[in-house]
Symmetry: C2
Subunit: 555 residues, 2 copies
């Protein structure tokens, strides 16, 4: 039995559980999200390994023939360069290596590919802490978010993509004898069906979620037999470099070319993304990032493109049982990682009529005051503040926050520098909260990435809903939070927002937030509005990566 086949045997039960999870969409994870599930010494070992890597070349990749090296990552916590250098390759090198490895990868059965890919996730698991520190010091996420998002949650999404691929590729029989009765005789035809991979896959990563947003496309392309080139954001390479290195080791141990999945690191000063994307041999492109670049990628002819771009996420407060947990929940949702999550709400719509509660009516002003206090309460909280906000990944984001107030509206909360007791140089900014009128669409109907929150005063809930719908349709939306105890309005919000392909989270309080999409259950991005054309992980995310071809024989 081949190494790949025995890896499939090893992981078959896990894969079957994941199939069942995707079908049932109930809670499932083989990778618990709490760090303590990964051993007593893991944190210390991970921290040590990360520290050891700083100012050193990253030598774990099994790609040969580097034409140079690159690396300009900067820690948002330390405001220092990490000093890690990665081997770099020319586009021609990357394409030729991908082409060279494509046949052997495509020739494996989907079971063999699944075995190898799941094994790589198990290897990655042993490095969750190290990946967490790498994520923290590239993205600015807090340690716990770094751990969860780049570790277990990313592995969940990778496994989800592998599993959905396995489901799609085993959906039809590999071969069949087709017998057509013709009355006096039968026509017999032997048939087979093959899922032919489309070709070289380019996965373009982002700076804020370097593994979570990269592994779905990467593993989806791999399970469907395509060689993959991962082009990480130049400011967030290390986390995904570790993942790719682990995968390459598994590939090599199975006697396969490491270049089935390549890291294509580049420098901010000499980006290679467009050259790769436009290369005629690149047939599949996954992209996470800005609308401008996303629209460009989507416009490239002859490519199958999967994008997650930016949207303008909204929150509507109409009526609640108890305002306190609602304000807590919203305040946390907008503060978590300083609004640098693609799922974070930006616009909070409150009507001039105020908010009905079980305890009585709250005026518009009372609600806005509560939001303001809620947000500043988290930011200024000596224990929670810095940890919830994390660091600001990019200087451009930091600058955007500083200048947001100048665009108009009434500043309710000015952004302040928040001290992080652990990292004195950390780039931390509390959210700015700005009050706008419904007609100031030019301000709130565009994405302001980072800790910028708008409260928008509307006539009534109906107007709030129409404005949310309008901006989701025209600017895209990945999430929508709504608070109402009115069943009729609830149904209306659901129908209207769903009609612009936006999911709604109703009445979220407690330890669940609109920002969070759970693998195996929640589709992440619908693919139906301008926030992106793809979805983690619906069948389309898999099926568009290969072509069914059937052959027939008469004997």
């Amino acid at each position: 039995m081949s190494q790949a086949a025995s890896l499939f045997q090893k992981h078959e039960a896990l894969l079957n559980d994941a199939v069942e999870a995707i079908q049932s969409r109930k809670f499932y994870t083989p990778y618990p999200e709490h760090p303590k599930a990964y051993g007593e010494t893991g944190d210390e070992e991970g921290k040590t390994a990360f520290a050891k890597q700083m100012n050193e070349d990253f030598t774990e990749l099994l790609q040969e023939g580097a034409s140079g090296s690159v690396g300009d990552e900067v820690s948002p916590y330390l405001q220092l360069g990490l000093g890690v250098r990665y081997p770099s390759f020319t586009t021609t090198q990357l394409i030729e290596k991908a082409k060279g490895s494509s046949k052997v990868w495509a020739a494996l059965s989907v079971q063999e590919r699944a075995g190898i890919l799941i094994e790589s996730l198990e290897k990655v698991k042993s490095r969750f802490f190290e990946i967490a520190y790498a994520t923290m010091h590239t993205t600015g996420q807090s340690f716990i978010m770094s751990f969860q998002a780049s570790g277990p949650h990313a592995n969940d999404r990778a496994l989800e993509a592998i599993t959905m691929g396995y489901m799609e590729l085993t959906r039809f029989p590999q071969e069949v004898e087709w017998v057509k009765p013709m009355g006096k005789f039968d026509i017999k035809v032997d048939k087979n069906w093959k899922a032919i991979p489309k070709g070289i896959s380019l996965v373009i990563g982002c700076s804020t979620f370097p593994t979570w947003n990269t592994v779905p496309g990467m593993y989806a392309s791999l399970i469907t037999g395509n060689p993959v080139i991962v082009k990480p954001h130049p400011k967030a390479i290390l986390p995904i470099a570790i993942v790719i290195a682990e995968l390459q080791k598994v590939l090599k141990e199975a006697g396969l070319p490491a270049e089935i999945c390549q890291l294509a690191a580049d420098a901010s000063s000499a980006p290679i993304t467009k050259e790769l994307a436009e290369h005629p041999e690149v047939k599949l492109i996954d992209f996470t990032g800005s609308n401008v670049f996303g629209d460009y990628v989507e416009s490239l002819p002859g490519k199958t493109v999967f994008t997650e771009k930016a949207g303008v996420n909204s929150c509507l407060i109409d009526s609640v049982k108890d305002i306190t947990p609602v304000i807590q929940n919203i305040s946390f949702a907008v503060s978590l990682y300083s609004g640098q999550m693609c799922t974070a709400p930006q616009n909070i719509f409150v009507s001039a009529e105020g908010v009905k509660t079980a305890e009585g009516h709250l005026s518009y002003e009372e609600v806005v005051k509560a939001i303001s206090e809620g947000i500043s309460g988290i930011a200024q909280h000596p224990k929670m503040g810095a940890g919830t906000l994390g660091g600001i990944q990019a200087e451009a984001t930091y600058n955007r926050v500083q200048t947001a107030a100048g665009k108009g509206g009434k500043t309710l909360l000015a952004s302040e520098k928040i001290a992080n007791p652990e990292f004195e140089n950390a780039r931390v900014a509390s959210p700015t909260l700005i009050e706008l009128n419904a007609d100031q669409k030019d301000i709130y109907q565009s994405e302001c990435f980072g800790p910028i929150v708008y409260v928008i005063k509307t006539k009534n809930a109906e107007e709030s809903l129409q404005l949310m719908k309008e901006s989701a349709a025209s600017k895209g939306a990945i999430t929508c939070a709504a608070y109402t105890t009115d069943e009729n309005l609830m149904g209306k919000i659901e129908d209207e927002m769903n009609s612009v392909f936006t999911p709604v989270s109703f009445n979220f309080t407690g330890a669940i937030f609109v920002n969070q999409h759970a693998a195996f259950s929640d589709f992440h991005v619908t693919g139906g509005n301008p926030a992106g054309n793809a979805s983690f992980t619906n069948p389309d995310f898999i099926n568009r990566r290969f072509v069914w071809v059937g052959n027939r024989w008469v004997n």
Copy 2:
């Protein structure tokens, strides 16, 4: 119980059989292809109904408010106008009616939609003979092909699309309680998932297969909840008009708007296709036809497009057990409906080395002579000839055949007028067979729609294969026929042609032809090469018509 729900109950067993067929890909049809399965008097009644319709307005549609009437169909058998006039509507009328009917259709369950749609197929079944005569006198197909292609085979493909839609839309639970254990407590979230239709669907028909090529897109869009506007080819309206009329009657009986599926007939002199296709409310477009128009449709921004365009289909003869049934099979495949099937071979590659047979070696010249005799034998056969060739649908095709010889090569068979004993004015032309060298790519690597067949002399089978592959990759191919007894070569042909997303039919002899793709088993067009971007009926053909949206509630 609603009418729609009771129709689902009525057809549930059939639907389950169809699900099983799609999964097993074994032979299946609820619509036998032989006319005798549909009653003794069906033919006579169908002929009478068709005759009665000639020179009369088509009044069966339930669409109201026509702005005029159109109709310029011409029978290729009679060379006379059919004189049938169809109500015509402005683009604005069509769009408004589609929009007006969209909510109620989307609000039905997939089961209810399936019940209604399958019921429409059962109604269509009662009119197979009439549709056959309508197809014959618009497309030029023989009666038997008209009956099979526009009747049972079209119904099979429609049912396949309905069934695949039902499978995809019932794949995930409608709702679930998601429970995440957090140690000391559980997080409980109620979730639902909805398949939100993308919007108005435009289905653009072709002149040669007015129902077979239209119903897959039409029923795929309908089952996924989208309203449909069918824009038939102005020269082939009647067959699909009957299908739509039957569907509209079922819709009306179920208390639904007939305009959920509209006929948008236009005149050759005043086409409305581009206006419809470019309308911003049109989100889905299915197209069958020329590469020029297909490329235009594919280039429209903001649309989800499914195309079947033209390809250059090849046949390779390397080695055979017995040459006689091979020549018979190929000759029939190129002659059937005068090469006007998108699946018909155009290029026959024979190497200078000739063909190995169990009885000994045949020289290149002997094989070419046999092909020539095989083709002319069918065309000139007093009983088979006219029936196999059918009529030439368009004058442009007839003219193309007449001038084909002038493009180069050695004419082995000149096209001749063939008498049809039943229709003295029938436009019938025997295939022209032209011999070319491998380097005359400018001639044979473009599609010559109609009864034009090239025999191409190559150095060896390897060169034949490379030329087939090259033209499939650059010009597209829907089918490929290969004759070889060499297992190694067989594997190589399969791999190479599959790598350009072209299916191969090996060693077809007897009563099965490369032209035929069976519903529930053979995917028609792979979608991977320039012959089209979609496939009847793979999961993509369904999934790209709707968007999964999930909502969440905390109570």
